[in-house]
Point group: C2
Chain length 335, copies 2
């Protein structure tokens, strides 16, 4: 906690006249050396991302739960996979996910490429038996053969799990929402925020929100944080935050219990409901609970309203993109 | 049958040098007097069409089963609605549906507006309890209030079932796929069809396919046809075509048994599997079965291949459209 307080103070001190919690959002995302972003990969990735035929039933695409049209997620507490199955976690937004150091709520994937491989074969998400089955299905679709060859060359068999996840990741790196009111503000347009939003920003910094939610995507500087820090039977009975042990569910280490990736606050006004289990319906309740459970402060309504106003200033511009036309299936066998 | 044969002969006779089964597809669709197409309605309709929050679970949009990216349907034998439920029919394509005289496989809706109202409250499709619930939910989404007012004016309450279905229909009237190889051919580019496609067209006309599948959308001149005309225990055991009584399921009249809307052949190569119950996986099998069951002819493989080649010439250009950004939900309560 001492380290946190130091950081909060440092940020708060800089903010007397022109409060800044982070730089503007970059308009491009860095790509790993082994997967440089190319237009052909992005186009293929967009197709795969929106193609429900990557699921066992042919009904669930990446975009079903991480809906690019709907704030990058599904507005549900937990997502619904094939055959109406649900899990315990809320879908994180895909927009600006390129700026996360780790992926999934529990941070178990260290890249967008690694993340993209997961849901496809998760039995309650997209339900494919194996990536071999996915690859076999994609190979039956003539248009995909062409698109993979354009993106990855035709020297060897281009349709592979590795290339499919690389293409999806390349597409996701283009999903960036710049030019929010906050971005305009930090670039010098001091009228871009309303007075209430400016007040909310100042309060968020002073309160300590930005000790975890800082940096251009408001998701750092740390990678993982414990949540909830302070809880009680009262809150647990209502929200069940501790039922899911976060990173420890993967590592099985006691020290990782209730550690979660710090989620971005970009476009947070569009991604209700909130928290890893989607148990909090509204943004004002989420703000109040974060202050209470993480910082042990009970915020008055006016402070909540100001901070929510500021968070609305983090809603960016969603770049126009065309609907991909998916190549036809010669014969279909979903059931 | 006599009337059919007359029509076939008349069409076949005109086709000796330059075979034509139909005019080119129009690039605009007529709208009813009470719902003229406007850009604002189309934009709102596109949003509603792609919004899964029109379903009880928040997971099934119009576009889930009538996927504009995927040939206008879902490539499944039958569609999957909320909570993994399935029905007995295959989703018809939305592309060029504006040129159908009636909608649904059984033709029970006489307009796109009437059709749009159906699936939303069908318990196995989108599962909303009532349109009142849909309207109430839409009213909680601020961005929709604005979009409805733009489209329908703000004199009265703009968010209504009537306006929602009008907007969806207006959007659907823009989903037209012109400039297929066939369209170029009938406009005078005689090289637009391959020799095999030209042969397939001629055979389709001579055989009698175009006695039912004629006109610019290859779905007339009649509205309903009996299917199957000739069946047997052998085919019934394999495909179960007669299990579903078509129009008679709605009207309860014996004379309507097994009557179906004649579906468009536009983009048919993209919409496997085939027939009202999606029981036929491939286009070549569908062609063979239609000849056998409707015209009592057993086609040799070469004829099937030629006709399939021609049907591929009916795949049009899908107009580029941008992904709609759906307005955010302030608080979410799907489950």
């Amino acid at each position: 906690m001492f380290k946190f307080r130091m950081l909060v103070s440092a940020i708060a001190l800089t903010g007397s006249m022109s409060v800044m919690a982070a730089d503007a959002l970059p308009t491009t995302a860095p790509a790993p050396a082994n997967n440089p972003t190319t237009p052909e990969k992005v186009e293929l990735g967009k197709m795969l991302y929106h193609d429900p035929r990557l699921s066992s039933t042919g009904t669930v695409a990446c975009a079903s739960c991480h809906n690019t049209m709907l704030g990058g997620e599904d507005n549900r507490p937990n997502s619904m996979g094939v055959n109406g199955q649900t899990g315990g976690r809320s879908a994180p937004t895909v927009w600006n996910a390129a700026f996360n150091k780790v992926q999934f709520w529990d941070g178990r994937a260290d890249s967008l490429e690694a993340q993209a491989a997961g849901p496809v074969t998760n039995p309650i998400e997209m339900g494919m038996k194996s990536w071999d089955d996915v690859v076999a299905r994609l190979k039956t679709i003539k248009g995909y053969r062409h698109a993979f060859e354009l993106a990855f060359g035709s020297d060897a068999e281009a349709i592979t799990k590795d290339n499919a996840t690389k293409a999806i990741a390349a597409y996701e790196r283009t999903l960036i929402t710049p030019n929010s009111a906050y971005d305009k503000y930090v670039k010098g347009d001091k009228d871009a925020l309303t007075e209430q939003q400016e007040r909310g920003l100042k309060k968020a910094v002073e309160l300590g929100c930005t000790s975890c939610h800082s940096g251009p995507a408001f998701n750092g500087p740390g990678v993982f944080q414990k949540f909830p820090v302070n809880s009680s039977g009262f809150f647990e009975a209502q929200y069940h935050f501790q039922k899911d042990k976060g990173l420890a569910e993967v590592t099985k280490k006691d020290s990782d219990e209730h550690l979660w990736k710090v989620p971005t606050l970009r476009n947070v006004a569009l991604t209700a409901p909130y928290m890893h289990n989607g148990s909090v319906k509204t943004l004002d309740k989420a703000v109040w609970l974060m202050a209470k459970l993480q910082l042990n402060k009970e915020l008055p309504d006016a402070d909540v309203a100001d901070i929510v106003a500021f968070l609305n200033a983090l809603t960016g511009e969603f770049p126009a993109q065309t609907i991909p036309q998916l190549p036809g299936t010669p014969g279909s066998s979903f059931n």
